[in-house]
């Protein structure tokens, strides 16, 4: 188990270093001089050169990478060209929205998907399964912003239970903040839950055909007990894989939903930074997401080992 853990950790760190090099290199070859961008078109060549020296842009490539990577480690991401504030402050502010949003959506998706998957798999081919999987098909096919608009119409406009958009900030109290994240989280969770329910169902159906399910039935366990005790855990590996991918998506791929609900999340930050060529911000957020995805993958890998003892003893 320790060997497995150490190996996974080493792979995660190596991936992170490699990814940081790629991100740095890509931004290095992109056209556009940050110093000129900051000083404007009227600045003289001398002024630009001076600022380049001040910013350390004339240093050798390797040194610049090390400085940049070192900065990342001490959470110093540099200053945004357009906002003129430390990038870390911008990111921190946006993460306060995006992280809770992603976690709530992920939790909702899991809570909906696993029971639906269990229900469908145990009634394979019967009416209940057909209805549930038809609904899941719809959930996969319909874009999440449409769900979002319907949710706003029903819960915000018609029932007036939650605000239609905007984010009051955590300073305004936990409940109001949570309330404004609820609809976007549901809108994000529904399509993800649909995918996850289908994965859970097919993984379970495969497991239910295994011989050890018959052994468990021959012990005298009722079908439901067999489903929960023997089938579910064996079906977890594909489910965990999809969950990991979904978390990464939910953290950064939510720009449409953020726009629909006027939420100041990471997605909008990146989008604005790209349109304004604020490369420092883009670079930092990309690195942050890379780190998050690698961390999630590490957690998923470790949870495989928790679920399946065969992985623990393998090298």
């Amino acid at each position: 188990m320790t060997a497995y853990l150490l190996k996974r950790l080493a792979i995660a760190i190596a991936t992170l270093v490699l990814a940081s090099m790629v991100v740095f290199a890509v931004l290095e070859v992109l056209p556009g001089d940050p110093a000129r961008l900051m000083l404007g078109l009227n600045a003289s060549a001398d002024q630009v050169e001076l600022l380049r020296n001040q910013m350390g842009l004339n240093a050798p490539l390797g040194l610049r990478y090390l400085r940049w990577a070192g900065g990342l480690l001490s959470l110093d991401f540099g200053r945004s060209y357009t906002y003129s504030v430390p990038v870390i402050d911008l990111v921190r502010e946006r993460l306060a929205v995006s992280l809770p949003l992603a976690l709530i959506a992920l939790a909702l998706s899991t809570i909906i998907a696993i029971p639906v998957g269990l229900f469908s798999a145990s009634r394979r081919g019967r009416a209940g399964d057909t209805v549930a999987m038809g609904a899941a098909q719809l959930g996969v096919a319909v874009p999440n912003f449409w769900f979002a608009l319907m949710l706003i119409y029903v819960f915000a406009v018609w029932l007036r239970l939650v605000p239609a958009g905007g984010f009051p900030g955590w300073g305004a109290g936990v409940w109001p903040a949570l309330k404004s994240l609820l609809l976007p989280a549901v809108a994000l969770a529904l399509p993800q839950a649909a995918i996850l329910a289908r994965v859970t169902r097919s993984a379970l159906i495969e497991v239910l055909n295994e011989d050890y399910i018959r052994t468990a039935r021959a012990k005298g366990l009722p079908y439901r007990a067999v489903l929960w005790r023997h089938a579910l855990r064996n079906a977890m590996i594909p489910v965990l894989t999809i969950l990991g991918l979904q978390f990464a998506f939910l953290l950064a791929g939510t720009i449409i939903i953020e726009n629909v609900f006027y939420l100041p999340g990471l997605g909008r930050l990146v989008f604005q930074a790209i349109t304004q060529r604020d490369l420092i911000v883009v670079e930092s957020v990309v690195m942050l997401l890379v780190a998050a995805v690698i961390a999630v993958n590490l957690v998923v890998d470790l949870s495989y080992a928790v679920v399946d003892p065969r992985l623990r003893s393998r090298q």
């Binding site: 052994t215 021959a218 005298g220 023997h230």
Partner: protein, 540 residues
């Protein structure tokens, strides 16, 4: 009074009839053997008694167990019976246990469920049961996982699960078919003891007449869902009054007619294996230390002449398949050399191996798994042709496939079909057709008949014998079934722990085994003649 009584049982799945007017009974302390070929409805009979049939199955008639009408009982009543009064053991021990739960959990689970015992009490009983089936706590603590156990050990765990609550009836569906003969003998002994200990009834399902004869008091012979004959084992099998019983008995002892081996005179050896060793890295115990070496094949030498038929026998895990893979140049020896028709094949690159590949082919055990289901027979049988010097034209290829199909007794029109359109025996014919299409000098056959029913097995053995005579192909037969080895080979090599421990003429070695490994194999191998004789003696 009978413990289990099946009367007029008919079963259909969808529109397919499976059982028709089936009759069978098992008394307490009695062993009933249920014999039949695949698809005869043996397993479905067992699943009917357990009421674990597929959804589409419809059963009519009467199944009564200990006074309970099984077909009419509620699901709750059945759950109370299963695992408590009726235990069941399945064929495939490798997949019968849940891979993510410890063996302790899996044995204790049924005990806790039925007796509401505390975890500690249930685990204590599970411990005793595992000790009883021969898995002592020193080597097999409750915390072991199934993947850490071998096939025979796993089957013991399955038996422990089934017998944990001292059931009145144990149903064992081909419990030893996936195991080698030595393990098979051990498991049969264990079942026999469990029956004697608590007057448990045992319904033993098998396709192997010899196995059933060794252990069953009475026997029921099933064919296409109908009982052909039932009665006392010794009498039924010695009198063989029913034609189907006679057919089964003869097929299981079938020896193909073969003239004397050919070509033994020709001087040059076909295959020479010289001091071949194969090491695999074992499991590392520490990151810093080097992994210990597992020696799968240990200093093996052998030679074959053209047209010779040799059996390589041994228990599972003794290294026979590893040796075969090296001979086929699918794996490289750690040391030693292999020469085929005088050419060294060890350490050669793939392109240089083409001539050798043309002259040796392989037939695998599983006729179901060795074909791509989406390709037509023409393409499948023609697969080895890519090693030919000159690529055949499409017409030539069809001609060669047609010829090969004809040689194995199939029709040339079969080349337009897909593998699923063939029965198990026909599929094994297809794999033989694929093996002989390049006119090889050597065919390596890895358990080529062990997945087949006895009557089909007899036909396939005849085919092997015929091709040996007609085409002069040499065979290396890898098997743990001594009956097969006796039937088809002249010489035998007995392998144990990676070494060849005995060699000689097949009949001589099996009649008078000298090495311990060969003796163990011969003693454990079920033999129908011997088993019937012993039964007759016991019953006077």
């Amino acid at each position: 009074m009978s413990l289990l009584e099946i009367d007029n049982l008919s079963l259909t799945i969808g529109d397919t009839p499976i059982l028709k007017d089936m009759e069978l009974s098992v008394a307490p302390g009695e062993v009933m053997g249920l014999v039949g070929e695949s698809g005869s409805g043996k397993s479905m009979t067992a699943l009917t008694v357990m009421r674990l049939l597929p959804h589409a199955a419809r059963a009519t008639g009467r199944v009564s167990f200990d006074g309970i009408d099984v077909l009419a009982a509620s699901e709750d009543q059945m759950c109370a019976l299963r695992g408590d009064d009726i235990g069941m053991v399945f064929q495939e021990p490798m997949t019968a246990l849940n891979p993510v739960k410890t063996i302790g959990e899996q044995v204790a689970e049924g005990i806790r469920w039925h007796t509401r015992a505390s975890r500690a009490d249930a685990e204590e009983r599970a411990r005793k049961m595992l000790d009883r089936v021969g898995l002592p706590s020193a080597k097999f603590p409750l915390s072991r996982y199934p993947h850490e156990l071998s096939g025979g050990q796993r089957q013991r765990v399955v038996i422990a699960i089934a017998c944990a609550l001292k059931p009145k009836l144990l149903i064992a569906d081909e419990p030893t078919t996936a195991l080698d003969v030595v393990l098979q003998a051990q498991i049969l002994d264990l079942l026999r003891d469990l029956v004697a200990e608590s007057r448990m009834g045992l319904l033993l399902i098998s396709h192997d007449l010899a196995v059933v004869t060794e252990i069953a008091d009475r026997i029921t012979i099933l064919r296409r869902g109908e009982v052909m004959e039932a009665g006392d084992t010794a009498r039924t099998l010695s009198e063989q009054s029913h034609p189907y019983t006679r057919q089964l008995a003869q097929a299981s002892m079938h020896v193909p007619a073969r003239a004397r081996p050919h070509g033994a005179a020709s001087g040059q050896a076909l295959l020479q294996v010289e001091s071949v060793t194969r090491d695999y890295p074992g499991r590392r115990t520490s990151l810093l230390r080097r992994a210990p070496v597992i020696r799968a094949v240990d200093d093996v030498s052998l030679s074959m002449t053209p047209g010779q038929s040799i059996a390589l026998v041994g228990r599972s895990g003794c290294g026979k398949s590893t040796l075969a893979r090296m001979i086929l140049a699918l794996d490289r020896p750690s040391s030693g050399t292999i020469r085929f028709r005088g050419e060294t094949i060890t350490g050669k690159r793939e392109a240089e191996l083409k001539p050798a590949r043309r002259d040796m082919q392989v037939v695998f055990q599983d006729p179901y798994g060795s074909f791509d289901p989406r390709q037509k027979v023409e393409k499948l049988v023609a697969e080895p042709l890519h090693v030919l010097e000159k690529k055949p034209t499409r017409a030539e290829r069809r001609e060669m496939v047609a010829h090969a199909l004809h040689e194995v007794g199939l029709d040339q029109r079969d080349m337009e079909k897909y593998p699923h359109e063939f029965s198990g025996g026909q599929r094994q014919r297809l794999s033989i057709a694929r093996a002989i299409i390049t006119r090889p000098k050597l065919v390596v056959a890895d358990e080529p008949v062990s997945a087949l029913d006895v009557s089909i097995r007899a036909q396939i053995l005849d085919l092997f014998a015929e091709l040996n005579q007609k085409l002069g192909i040499a065979y290396l037969f890898i098997t743990h079934d001594l009956t097969v080895a006796r039937a088809i080979t002249d010489d035998v090599l007995v392998m144990h722990d990676g070494k060849i421990v005995e060699r000689g003429k097949t009949n001589e070695v099996f009649d008078h085994p000298r090495s311990e490994a060969a003796q163990a194999l011969v003693t454990a191998a079920p033999d129908l003649h011997r088993a019937i004789a012993r039964r007759m003696q016991e019953q006077g």
